[in-house]
Point group: D4
Chain length 222, copies 8
């Protein structure tokens, strides 16, 4: 009664309904996951706590808990990865949970991910040292809190789509990530698009859709 799982989603969107764990009990999460796995090959659960992970791993042997990312993934059989990479760049150590949520989402959706952590604008040489890896990706996710300046700098140096993720890292006038969010929306680096504060999931999902598009078009050619 409490949920009406969208069982057509994989058809329309290419991936089954993702379970948003926040505010759900472990039982509800296990129930919805069971329902989805009746007809799907894989499932992703985000924003969970230890107890949800335990409940899921107790029920499903193959469930994997990504603890920094606060996610559980479950695949009946492994995906073959599509060509092309997604780079996940992050500004500081404290932004890692959000960056990992993006990376885990992109991986379960069939993509290869390169992680480039702790390269914030206070010491740009760290970013320049990783530039080649970044430029070789098909899509670049940039995660940053505080003033959120990193996406502008990255977008100025690449021709690939940049997805910016503001985080709630900071204090005072960061207002829970608002400063980073506004900064990214006003980026002078053309072509930057933005997702909600701390929304690593959304960035990983959008990046996967873009990378999948390349694959789809290539297939239709061959």
């Amino acid at each position: 009664g409490f949920a009406q799982v969208d069982m057509h989603r994989a058809l329309r969107k290419g991936f089954p309904e993702v379970i948003f764990g926040a505010g759900k009990t472990p039982e509800q999460v296990v129930g919805i996951a069971t329902k989805i796995l009746e007809s799907e090959e894989r499932v992703l659960v985000t924003r969970i706590q230890e107890e949800h992970a335990r409940a899921l791993r107790k029920k499903f042997k193959k469930a994997i808990h990504h603890s920094v990312a606060r996610c559980v993934t479950l695949e009946k059989s492994p995906h073959t990865k599509r060509p092309g990479t997604i780079a996940v760049v992050c500004a500081g150590t404290s932004d890692l949970p959000v960056a990992e949520e993006a990376a885990v989402t992109a991986e379960i959706m069939g993509n290869t991910v390169d992680r480039i952590p702790d390269v914030g604008v206070a010491g740009l040489h760290r970013l320049f040292g990783r530039l080649e890896l970044i430029q070789s990706a098909n899509v670049i996710i940039v995660v940053a809190g505080m003033e959120g300046a990193l996406p502008s700098v990255v977008a100025g140096m690449v021709s690939k789509p940049v997805i910016a993720v503001p985080t709630s890292v900071g204090y005072g006038a960061s207002f829970g990530g608002l400063a980073a969010l506004l900064g990214m929306l006003n980026s002078c680096g053309s072509g930057v698009t933005v997702v909600n504060i701390d929304n690593g999931f959304g960035a990983g999902y959008a990046a996967s859709q873009i990378n999948a598009l390349v694959e789809q078009n290539m297939k239709s050619v061959v």
Copy 2:
């Protein structure tokens, strides 16, 4: 003295510096355009008024004024369009200037654009009647003011990347587009990314980067 045009931008980004006309005099705009055209094939000027358009057309015979979009474009010779289309969907008649800015930007950057205007959520059958055209695009730009609900609905029905553009259309508690912006950032339609309020230019630019990515990867295969 007043400007230091970024003459490497086409190399790094695939398109020369775009001139932001707001707050510049017609003379400044013509000056910067002249500088860019010394080494580039095409130029885009956004957020201009009648007088800027006149000054540009007086100086450059080939300049085209897109009056609804408030843009001028100028190409020494026409681009060949890359494969794949970009759909520009908009919610109401009043959102047209922003939608046109997106469309003109995507076109000057070498893309074919399909326009689907006035299909807001108050009468969804209008959207359903255009669904095939929307689903056939590589990227979908969705422009909406007021509550900004259209991107969520579109994203629920397609597997392609959706770029949402909030507009300042509305009054009272729309707070200059804030309501639409927040709505789009909180979209429950997975994979929606967002640009600044009224930033048709940014959406067109990002969509073009995505579409170009398809082309690049296809070329590298062939």
Copy 3:
């Protein structure tokens, strides 16, 4: 001393004063309920915690604890339901507590309620599958968090009054329900009215007033 119960309210408003439990001790709540039941047939207590429910059920045998709704109701003898139904539509599983508060309020006030949960805009076919039930109601309450787009879509498809309830479900730029609230206030679906964030009680109360109006007018005719 601490309270001056409004003992005329049922006369003026058709229903006795409702007890707002938040910030009151169990003793205060029991005290006010006792006072009201001296002269009234029924009482509704909202926003309570487990301990208030326990205290009320200890004192009053007929007290019913609606735990998802965080309410207690108590009727000396059952109401006869008035004709016509109120539909309570909700977008996601996490919106259920607010939707239930609306439903319980409407029921204790003498109305028949139809519940339509988890039909958010990310998968509209779920809504379309329940459309007939929704259209047959006299009033429709639509509960949604995040971007709050569902009331616009529902209002576009029915001719009945739609009462929208934004919830605080979401994170980041949802700003505690502000995004949903602004979205609903700016709805392009004509005839939508809005109550406070998470105010299921207010929506149920207003819906009951509307449904009662139908009954009153019908009586005056017959």
Copy 4:
């Protein structure tokens, strides 16, 4: 090209698409009105200026300009009014344009309207003097700016649905109507629902839907 009029709206909603004049040229407004009148009996245009009114009256002999309300209405033949009244109560002289927009909307939709102006809470005896008229209505629209306290007071004295309309009347910390809006959303007068700042149209529309509901149910009985 610029608009895709929703020609099914009268079927779904009971009234044809209403034209929002703000940001449209007189030519666009006349064009859309002409299109609607091809198949509908009446049309309502809101938020217009003198020049739109002139253009409409030049084209349509029967067009009526409601100048305080900033609306034009046009009926091929007069509506028969449905039973029951809608009261439009307003706090101060400066709130009149919004109150009139509500009244004109309710009237063109087939309702009888009672106007009760300038009865704000600074001198409550003015309100008490009109109480009987207010209590005899089926629905009460209350329009107020500044602190927006009037709907709470009215709702405390009637059992009928109250629709509150905050206005942008005020200065300083009224923040363009925000103070009144927040006040109304937090009303302790149970059963108050709220529309956008200055949205007289929305209040009139919702009130008409409620009054029509009475009529529909009565018909189905008889």
Copy 5:
């Protein structure tokens, strides 16, 4: 070292420095109180918790803990009360802690206080029943949360100074008392002045200054 008590304050302001307990340890509070009592007859401590009260009562026999008001007062010998009363009116049961803080402050400063609780605008007859008592006061403090409408109504009925205190009582769009604060600042009831959200202390202090003024002028006459 941690504090530099303002020992001249009673001279300049007529009352010694008041200790703001929030964020101070019980030891700090006792230390500052001891210092003040070296040269003063009385002391007021606000915003304390149980443990501060215990520490103060252990050290000072005459300390009185006003638990609803979250204050401690201490007088070496009782004040003679000045003529005239201060009325403390409050809208709902949940506003009591703030109302009591105002009352306790006014009393320790030498005033007689009349308390009129739970007379909010949802049932105005409760207010009318207490009107004579309110009108007989020299100053009226009105405490209200949610939409904060009560000060406007009171101010419309009296010729005495009204000090409005918004409280953080409410949820959702009350935004921690912002709705009530803005409402009171925009009051159409002339002569209303406002203090910070939940600042019962400030209201009591200002009311006492006004009442003292009467006394001072009367003395200078006699």
Copy 6:
């Protein structure tokens, strides 16, 4: 029809309804003034423009236009001033219109006013030079824009009631007077009460009520 003048106000409040000129036509203002003067000795019109002043002076010979204050006053015969003074202190030259509105309001209500302009906190010696005059007043109105620090400083040096008026003077992060308003609400100077941004009228009115209170109590003694 457009206004329902509150003809009992002088009875309840001690002064007839004050006409808020903003958003009213000269004709409306003259009409309301005429109505009030049928039964009252004096009238105050605030927030007017040149044309309202002209219309009022044309109709009423005794009307006086206070142009800096943007007010018109009209007295059939002069008031005798009550004892005690009201000090109107202001921070900078740009705050003068608001300070004058306060002064004119207090004067027409029968008070003697001392003006102390341009003594902001950037050069405190200017304030100290006027301290005796300030301390001799019964009530002190302090008007300041930008950071609004002056009321805190004044309140620290006097024992009389201080009414703070934030102004919209400033730019950028002053956000139309919000910075000054918040500063004054958070004043560490005990006993400061606050009115709306730019609300000189409200401050003058409240100050007059306080000064009148002194007079009333003195009379009742004598």
Copy 7:
């Protein structure tokens, strides 16, 4: 009467009172300037319009109008410049008026200024090309609108004090410079301090105080 010029300011602060032209008439500005020049060697007028400049130049032969900076300066005899430079770096062409206000302020206060315009983060190579000049300054003022990322990048590369000036350049979610302001306040580049939006004057003043400090200390050594 309207102003009380702070004639001691040069003694206390090292520079005479600066005239803020906004909201003053040309006559008032000329009057205050005349008063200051009675005892001072130089004067600075900011935020003026053409007509103020004309009035000042008519009265004072030596007045210089800095039109981009919207300032007038006047020196009876030229200052000798103190050692050390102040760098004024700006992100885009549209930020020039604010950057010039900072530069003109620093110059009239006796400093040598280096201007480095249009080196925003979208093309960082432009900044790197000017790095030596920037690093040789004693203080660096960085002016930027939109997302305001430039100060973070500059602060990461220098050991000198960086003063960040957010500008109101941008649209939509820049909210009049709020995005840039919040970005700069949250800068991860240690040692960045911030002034108000568009406050070039304040930045120039603070930079001069720092540079003067060097000079003072050096003098005291020699």
Copy 8:
């Protein structure tokens, strides 16, 4: 993997990377400190809790825990202090943690610090009593919560650079320090620059950069 310490920072900025403890585990903090101390003489850790301090002191004998400041410092050998002092002025006892963070930062960076606590504007004589000490400093840090008026007053009395630090001390309309922040940004005291709410670290860092500048210039002269 989790961090990429910026090992060049001391070269570029004159001080090694400072560790921001908030949101890091004790292990992460010890790990980064160890890495930095491989090549640096000293390290500063800010925003830590008891357990981080314990872990650091267990690993490093010379670690010092500044508990009020919530910092740990560690120096292999003591710094020689540079000439000149930095004054840290604070308004109230509750602002001490932020003031101490500023003082500890300035000290570990090689500066002599004078502390002047609890001299807020409610009793200005306390400030005047310490004026000489304040005026003798090279840089003045002013820390204040609530309305944040102290920096304006201090800046009016000194010719040295003033760095203002707003704190989150306060309640209600202080909105977590926003009131103090806005007050300081709008300061009429020329030359005030501002850092983030509660950012004692940033103020200490900036003050040290300014004081170091004096030293550098003096050295280059000698």
